[in-house]
Amino acid sequence: MESQIFDLSMIWAMIIAFAVIMYVLMDGFDLGVGMLFPFAPDEDARDVMMNSVAPVWDGNETWLVLGGAGLLGAFPLVYSILLPALYIGVFLMLAGLIFRGVAFEFRFKAKTSRYLWNWAFAGGSYLAAFAQGVVVGSYIQGYKTEGLVYAGGAFDWLTPFTVMTGVGLMAGYALLGSTWLIMKTEGYIQQWAYRVAPWLLAAVLGVFGIISIWTPSVDPSAYERWFSMVRWIWIFPLLALFFAYQIWSGLRKRKEVVPFLATMAMFFSTYFALLWTRWPYVIPPNFTLWDAASAPGSQLFLLLGMLFVIPIILAYTAWTYWIFRGKVRVGEGYH
């Protein structure tokens, strides 16, 4: 029995980790496009930028729903401690996502108020990205709990460290967005994206570097993890640096697809490093994933559903991207 719970919870943790990274990568690039909005060369470019993500943003965002609902079903304790702990932060993130989602629909249909929706789209993207980065930072920091209830303050999640992770994720999403645009656009918009991307890459590397140095002082166990126990963990930051180099050289050689793929790979490596730093704690520093798991029956049942449906989701998601393959052009209004 024990070993069965062990396995199920582990698989579940992996599924949720998968949903989270899918969310980060997929909604990441469309949030990034939103963040680059104010800096776009002109209004035509904004149309193209928005059109490049309009058919897919909604599906991308659903990975967040899956992560949330999966947590509630498989690790109810995480849901019931983390969300009150991050109360205002989660609210800001949702408000950002709502603004942004609505802006997609409303911007194309508005005329005089169009500039307002530009701001809603950009502002919502910044807010959501920042709030998500803060969540990551707060996870590294850990949460104060008493019994099975969050016992910290309303703004424990907002510290200099989490602000830094918030900025880091914003920079990362913007980089994803700019490389996405390199892939999906052409002409002067693409040229602009080529110019922006290296700066964003530099910002990402800088901020991630600071966070890496800062983390051990926020979370002493991280130091242990990295310097005394497992050496092979160093493969992840090395991989991240390797992919960062790929981005850079891809940009220099004016490659169109490589920078985007390499950015995703860099994110992926960083994400693994982060997970390993905190493994197996889901509510650090007190609860591991096994402490937080729901009953094995519930987990098993849901698991069967997941394993069956996730491949189908991936298949039709891939099909959608295939349908919308190719460059988005100026004046090619979908609406």
């Binding site: 943003w57 019931s80 009150p84 991050l86 109360y87 989660v90 409303f106 449906v309 998601t317 919308f324």
Partner: protein
Amino acid sequence: MDIVDLSRMQFALTAMIHFLFVPLTLGMAFLLAIMESVYVMTGKQIYRDMTQFWGKLFGINFALGVTTGLAMEFQFGTNWAYYSHYVGDIFGAPLAIEALMAFFLESTLFGLFFFGWERMSKVKHLAVTWLMAIATNLSALWILIANGWMQYPIGSEFNIETMRMEMTSFAEVLLNPVAQVKFVHTVSAGYVTGAIFMLAISSWYLLKGRDLPFARRSFAIASAFGLAGVLSVIVLGDESGYEAGEVQQVKLAAIEAEWETQEAPAAFTLFGLPNEETQHTDYAVKIPAVLGLIATRSLDEQVPGLREIKENNLKRIVRGQQAYDLMQRIRAGDKSATTLEAFNAVRDDLGFGLLLSGYTDDVLNASPEEIAAAVEATVPKVWPLFWSFRVMVGCGMLMLLLFACAFWHSARRTPDKPKWLLKFAIFSLPLPWIACETGWFVAEYGRQPWAIGEILPTHLAVSSLSVSEVWFTLISIAVLYTIFVIIEVWLMTKYARKGPSSLHTGRYDLETTHVQEA
């Protein structure tokens, strides 16, 4: 106001605003699929234009439905943390499946529906539209399974070891009769909403004498679809009454203001003024035997009244006191067989002990006044339920009348519909929303004082937040959502006024004249 009231207000606000968008999505998705099917089968361009124009209005609505839904999903954790912890095992399952089976499908297909017209063959696009319609309905199914379980929690039991509810039978949760009935009732209400929306706007064109071929076809499709929908709503509404008579007797008694158990078969109170003070309905207009027929499908079974229900609940609270006390002892380490056995004998009434804990610090030795207060609380206030139920039914009947007339006139294929009918249709536009909102109010307010029927009282379900945090989000949500609703209505009006000319095909009225779109 305390944290419980604030959290309830916030949830009610988000849920009710979310449900302004949902029924329209549910109904319009199928209407779009029907119109596009006609296009693919007949090849007539006008049906494609219809799909695209009504699709535009559908799109304005869809984005808000999705994003407000996302916000609700997280609220279970942010504001109802103990609830999530206590029942996440069970409640989370349908939500997760909803995300997997429905949410993903509808949000992915949404993009394909709008942007894929030129990128797919006709038949593929049609398949996308149908799948999108089915996905929205599947989404409703899983959400209502979750909600049905809150109303009538079967297939689960309390685990004293983990202090949580755990699932014992997924099949029971899935096939929960309350959920099944609610599902059909709710999606049908959505179909009616979509149909009225299309009918009202088409009627407006007909009244103005513009875009006649477009409006007539839309009118005909909406009236047929709406008639089927409204009949289904009413039949399933009656079925809900029967289910409530079986498993949610408190709600039924409160809706009907049945203070005392009547002789079978019970009379149905058509109207009246429920008076909480005297526990009596003043000026009641009654129809003999109808309530008994609806609730029990028989002439000899009784429908329990509120007084009898409260008397019964008093007994359950007394057993709940024991259950609560035994639970505390087991938690403290007393795992002896006698204690466990004693607990198992009264475990079904643990919820009532938890309810009492909201009225006293010492559950086992609660004073008679405290117990009496808890007993009173087991029954929701009567007049809000009584009236909102009647408003809902009244709207339903008006819509039945409207669709019957509209369908009759379209079936006769009269080219010109009478003016009174067109005006009736236009003024009926708010009815489905009023009916949906009052209906949900009946369902959820009628569930009080429970978050999970007779298992977890609402006051225990909340998160440990500060009052100011919840005030902040409550006010922000109220302001934001109000702005979004206003913008949505404004945009809808703008596009409804433009009509099919907004497609820029050159085939419709207004296009050659003054209206130009950016």
